[in-house]
């Protein structure tokens, strides 16, 4: 049982590792005004949102996703880990309160939580940069909004694909 659990965690790490490299080296060529989709963040959110209560894969996802993003970034080590853990905790706590229809995870829960997570992520880094760099001002530019919207739409599309997959294989009627 423990071996099976550890194997799942190892596979999770490998998935995040490949995804981070894919994001930093492949998707970069398809940026729109310097904006690329943040699939690592979207995956961390997904795993935390769809995880059954009492499981901890969401926590590991936040840890691995944050660790790998920090490795391949220039900012202080640990920042992505911290923000992902905050998002993981926030999603789990929110879902704990939204008891009605918790198993089906409807879109009405998914979209606001995703949107809020994206905003928190972006604002966190803007705040950190404005504190770290003297002439970087904390301002929400058009680029910031486009980035949030871009990731939001992608998250929504992935949610739809996931639901179609689940319906096709009969897990949800």
């Amino acid at each position: 049982m423990i071996f099976y659990y550890n194997k799942k965690i190892l596979i999770l790490f490998i998935i995040f590792y490949i995804l981070t490299l894919f994001q930093n080296a492949f998707l970069i060529h398809f940026n729109i005004k310097g904006i690329i989709p943040n699939f690592v963040l979207i995956l961390v959110f997904f795993l935390n949102f769809f995880e059954k209560p009492g499981q901890y894969f969401g926590f590991w996802a936040a840890l691995f996703g944050g660790f790998l993003l920090d490795i391949f970034s220039d900012h202080y080590f640990g920042l992505s880990i911290i923000i992902f853990l905050i998002i993981s905790f926030f999603v789990k706590k929110s879902l704990h309160f939204l008891k009605e229809r918790q198993i089906q995870k409807p879109l009405v829960y998914f979209l606001p939580l995703l949107f809020f997570s994206l905003i928190v992520y972006k604002l966190f880094f803007l705040l950190v940069f404005s504190i770290s760099y003297s002439h970087f001002s904390f301002q929400i530019t058009l680029n910031t909004l486009i980035e949030i919207l871009y990731n939001f739409i992608l998250g929504f599309l992935i949610f739809c694909l996931y639901k179609i997959y689940k319906i096709k294989y009969g897990e949800i009627s």
């Binding site: 894919f22 080296a25 492949f26 970069i28 060529h29 220039d74």
Partner: protein
């Protein structure tokens, strides 16, 4: 019946709150350890080293696919651009012949005055292996073992300035783009004799994050125009003079402020680059 006095104490690790507290404590300890010591560089170097083959493959594949799609989207503009380039080419050929004459004159004068020729740059070729758009920086495949050191300028073969080396590890280095919030250097707009004012316009080039560059502290009476070319000015000694930075995109001027600023469209395009040069001082 069990005696209530001899209750088995609960294990510290069985409590959920204690577990979470312990994990958070270790995370913060690791956070401080990695940021205050050099250990994070060793960890990063290890990951870059093992990831290089995969990153390289992703980079090349991404580049090829993006060029393919760009070609398709740009087909209708290709004819127009071709005509424009043919015309520009003819203009440049005429300028080259003028400059050749000036070069001859210059060499004669220098010889006569006994001035030595300016030394060429000593360059090291590097490859881009990863890009961090959130942090306005990118990774190159050379590091301390290749005699790379901090603050060395990074340019393209067209003398376009990309940035400078900000972090050096054993096998890799990180380059801070000129759009990075920490990037500040002196620049100037060269005015030609055709302009109303032929004096060069000096100011400070600042990175604004998100691939944006600003040209700031420009005297308010200076006449800058959209499309003016910005180059490095060598004041301050950050970069050699004459490197291309970008062109003026938008001007912000206020009657009440002593300085004006301009948004610059930088010439660097990091996603279309596989190789760059580091200027060794």
């Amino acid at each position: 019946m069990k005696s209530p006095i001899f209750k088995k104490p609960k294990s510290f690790f069985k409590s959920k709150k204690n577990k979470i507290g312990l994990i958070l404590f270790f995370l913060f300890a690791i956070f401080f350890l990695l940021n205050l010591t050099n250990f994070s560089n060793e960890v990063k170097n290890f990951f870059y080293f093992i990831s290089l083959p995969i990153q390289k493959s992703f980079w090349i594949a991404g580049n090829k696919i993006s060029i393919f799609f760009e070609t398709i989207f740009e087909i209708k503009n290709l004819k127009k651009e071709n005509e424009k380039l043919k015309f520009k080419n003819q203009e440049l050929l005429a300028k080259i012949s003028n400059l050749k004459e000036l070069k001859k004159e210059n060499e004669i004068l220098k010889k006569a005055l006994g001035i030595g020729l300016e030394k060429d740059f000593k360059l090291v070729f590097v490859k881009v292996v990863g890009l961090d758009l959130l942090g306005d920086s990118f990774l190159i495949n050379k590091g301390a073992k290749d005699n790379i050191s901090k603050n060395l300028p990074v340019i393209s073969e067209e003398r376009v300035l990309f940035g400078k080396v900000s972090k050096v590890e054993k096998n890799f280095s990180r380059v801070m783009l000129i759009s990075h919030p920490e990037s500040v250097f002196a620049g100037k707009i060269q005015k030609s004799n055709k302009d109303e004012i032929s004096e060069d316009i000096y100011g400070i080039v600042k990175g604004n994050g998100n691939l944006e560059v600003l040209f700031d502290l420009i005297p308010s009476q200076a006449k800058i125009r959209k499309g003016d070319i910005l180059i490095t000015s060598a004041l301050g000694g950050d970069y050699p003079k004459g490197l291309l930075v970008g062109k003026v995109k938008k001007i912000k001027k206020s009657d009440t402020k002593p300085f004006q600023k301009a948004k610059i469209e930088p010439f660097f395009n990091i996603t279309k680059r596989e190789g760059l040069f580091i200027i060794l001082k």
